[in-house]
């Protein structure tokens, strides 16, 4: 509870207008993210999991202000940066950096690796000339690349090395928070382990906060301290990773865990909970609880009442009518702190 808060988002919402027809009138909205709140402490990793279209990438884009939220607040290190103009944002932008999924398309093919990694240093006027080169060489060493490879181009690096470049670039400006959007999903198992180990080591050394977005439960379990599960634009459960994996409270979390394949043939073919059907369209989310159309426990009330995210035990939040809290439960405040 004592670690300072690195990121805090409150009721974050993003609705994308859908236009169509002859006059490009607005025909509806995609409720990509609909009232999401969480916080991340210094040195902590919050894992954000969910299936395609649940809004996890939109959340990460809003946190780094690549897109503006429709509503809600974003605080970086205590400073409210919601709605800041790009110019006003400039001095805060250094605090938060992003690492993308695809190490093939996120690096400029016309620049050398050294230029790519050093660019933020120039942009933020942190270093130029020889000093910049020295810092870039340091960054290369730090992420496990040879400084001599500074003069090579992105295509000369393997996938894992490119992801290391992405990490070096993010680190260059000494951020407090790194948003990592599926950073290892494009990598093979053997290389994935290298990158995950690197990210954890850097976090421990530099006390970085991570917002780690992934669809891969095993990976999220490995890197995270706390985990938030999203479904159709909402957080349905947020808890310490051990609590979440050992006793999931939300039926969707339970289904996700049951569906994730485990590399152990001895555990195979237990009768598992398999969800029927597909995720509904975020343009027309179901009434009441958004999960009721696929939920094995849903009843009439679930079709009508939208369950709020409630704190059912210290640090454990769940949004489900079927899981009443002992003593009613307190509504989730914006600030959900957990000790890393």
């Amino acid at each position: 509870m004592s670690a300072p808060v690195s990121l805090e988002v409150q009721d974050l919402t993003k609705h994308f207008p859908v236009r169509g027809g002859l006059l490009q009138r607005q025909r509806g909205v995609v409720r990509a993210v609909d009232g999401v709140s969480f916080s991340i402490a210094r040195g902590e990793t919050l894992g954000l999991v969910g299936e395609s279209g649940c809004g996890k990438t939109t959340v990460s884009r809003m946190v780094v202000k690549l897109i503006e939220p429709t509503a809600g607040r974003i605080r970086l290190g205590g400073v409210d940066v919601t709605g800041l103009s790009p110019a006003a944002m400039w001095e805060h932008r250094r605090r938060v950096q992003i690492v993308f999924q695809d190490p093939y398309s996120s690096l400029n093919p016309r620049l050398t690796a050294g230029t790519i990694v050093g660019e933020p240093l120039e942009n933020f006027r942190l270093a130029t000339g020889r000093e910049k080169d020295r810092r870039v060489a340091d960054l290369f060493t730090r992420v496990g690349l040879r400084p001599e490879s500074m003069h090579r181009y992105a295509h000369e690096f393997s996938g894992g090395q490119r992801q290391r470049l992405g990490i070096a670039k993010a680190l260059s400006v000494n951020p407090d928070l790194i948003v990592a959007d599926e950073p290892v999903s494009a990598l093979d198992v053997s290389v994935r382990a290298q990158v995950l180990n690197l990210m954890i080591a850097l976090q421990e050394e530099l006390k970085l906060a991570y917002l780690f977005v992934s669809h891969d439960l095993a990976v999220v379990h490995h890197v995270s301290h706390r985990i938030a599960v999203m479904y159709l634009g909402r957080i349905v459960e947020l808890a310490d990773k051990r609590a979440l994996f050992e006793s999931p409270l939300h039926p969707y979390t339970e289904a996700l865990l049951a569906a994730a394949p485990v590399p152990d043939p001895a555990r195979r073919r237990k009768k598992r909970l398999i969800l029927e059907g597909d995720v509904p369209s975020p343009m027309r989310p179901p009434s009441g609880c958004r999960f009721h159309t696929r939920c094995p426990h849903a009843d009439a009330a679930c079709r009508v009442k939208d369950p709020p995210l409630l704190e059912v035990a210290p640090g454990r939040y769940v949004a489900c009518l079927k899981r009443p809290a002992g003593g009613g439960g307190a509504p989730a405040p914006g600030l959900l702190q957990g000790a890393p």
């Binding site: 995950l196 051990r242 195979r268």
Partner: protein
């Protein structure tokens, strides 16, 4: 049991401006009737090229099968004419691809895409083939099959498209189904649905499955036997239980140790994030001939002879084959 499909010393090479890429370089395995065999390995290990070679789908302008044999139904597939292959493909041996969007024709409705294969191979008239298509949609549990027949791929979700792909693959009762990363593009809850469906249909129809995947979790949950590939070669082959319990090749071992495990005993050590075991380095370029074992530069057990001559795939214990000079040391190390 006589194998249904037997691949022996298969070599498929590609001829590029960078030189000859030995994508598949001496791969052997056999598939028994009704069996589920996993073909695993990381990108570029040759698992997909092996599948495409079996179906003779390697584009002749870029690559070709340069050696080995593929025995199926008393014939060597590498020697068949393209007309003979066309009779077999989609009929006796069918394939499901990874990307359910590009695997389907966007301008034909679902019913037509299933029925065209039935008309061609089972020689049914169109009306009967449409009925067969509807039955297939029911079989893969698509709701409202009659109406879906007239829909187009873009109207279906990813999971439904993959169900349609399965319906097309199985509509002529193939003996072998080759599924290349069939669930990689899907979300986990949908993946669970599709894998369950494939296994259920396998039981029902007796189709043997070659499941190609990079996901060891998927292999553990679905396959009876596993072939592990590295750099175009088979490094280990074993029943799934034995492979996961006692991997004998350093590469297989490395892969299993490199996996983050959500099921590992987290209760004892709640807050720790144990370091994952890395496999240092990366896969070798396949444009250079590799005289010894291809894993040498990344292997902790490598000795002198490993770099000099390639190890044979040998039986280490009953039906557990491994291709490693130092296999005995690897096993001793695990104890």
């Amino acid at each position: 049991m006589t194998p249904l499909l037997e691949v022996r010393d298969l070599r498929t090479h590609f001829f590029t401006s960078d030189g000859v890429v030995r994508a598949v370089d001496g791969v052997s395995f056999a598939l028994s009737p009704g069996e589920t065999l996993g073909l695993v390995g990381e990108s570029g290990c040759g698992k997909s090229v092996t599948a495409l070679s079996i179906l003779r789908l390697i584009a002749p302008e870029t690559g070709r099968i340069v050696g080995g044999s593929i025995r199926f139904g008393g014939r060597d597939l590498t020697a068949l004419s393209s007309e003979e292959m066309r009779e077999l493909r989609g009929h006796r041996i069918a394939m499901i691809f990874q990307e359910p969007m590009t695997g389907l024709n966007p301008v034909l409705n679902i019913g037509t895409q299933i029925a065209e294969s039935v008309v061609r191979h089972l020689k049914l008239p169109w009306r009967a083939a449409r009925d067969r298509a509807r039955e297939m949609l029911e079989l893969v549990r698509i709701a409202d099959p009659k109406q879906r027949l007239n829909e187009y791929p873009h109207q279906l979700s990813g999971g439904m498209r993959q169900r349609v792909m399965i319906a097309i693959a199985l509509c002529c009762n193939p003996q072998v189904l080759i599924a290349d990363e069939p669930t990689t593009a899907l979300d986990v809850t949908i993946q669970a649905q599709i894998l369950d469906l494939m296994l259920e249909l396998k039981e029902k129809l007796g189709t043997a499955i070659v499941l190609i995947t990079h996901d060891l979790g998927v292999v553990a949950e679905t396959c009876e036997r596993v072939v592990v590939m590295y750099a175009g070669r088979v490094v280990e082959q074993a029943p799934a239980a034995a492979l996961f319990a006692r991997p004998r090749h350093p590469y297989t071992r490395g892969l299993l140790q490199a996996l983050p495990r959500a099921d590992a005993g987290s209760s004892e050590q709640p807050a720790t994030r144990p370091q994952l075991t890395e496999i240092p380095g990366m896969v070798p370029a396949l444009t250079q001939p590799i005289p010894g074992c291809a894993f040498v530069p990344r292997c902790g057990f490598a000795a002198q002879r490993c770099a000099q001559s390639p190890p044979e795939l040998e039986e280490a214990e009953s039906s557990h084959l491994v291709s490693c000079w130092e296999a005995a040391r690897v096993v001793a190390d695990a104890v």
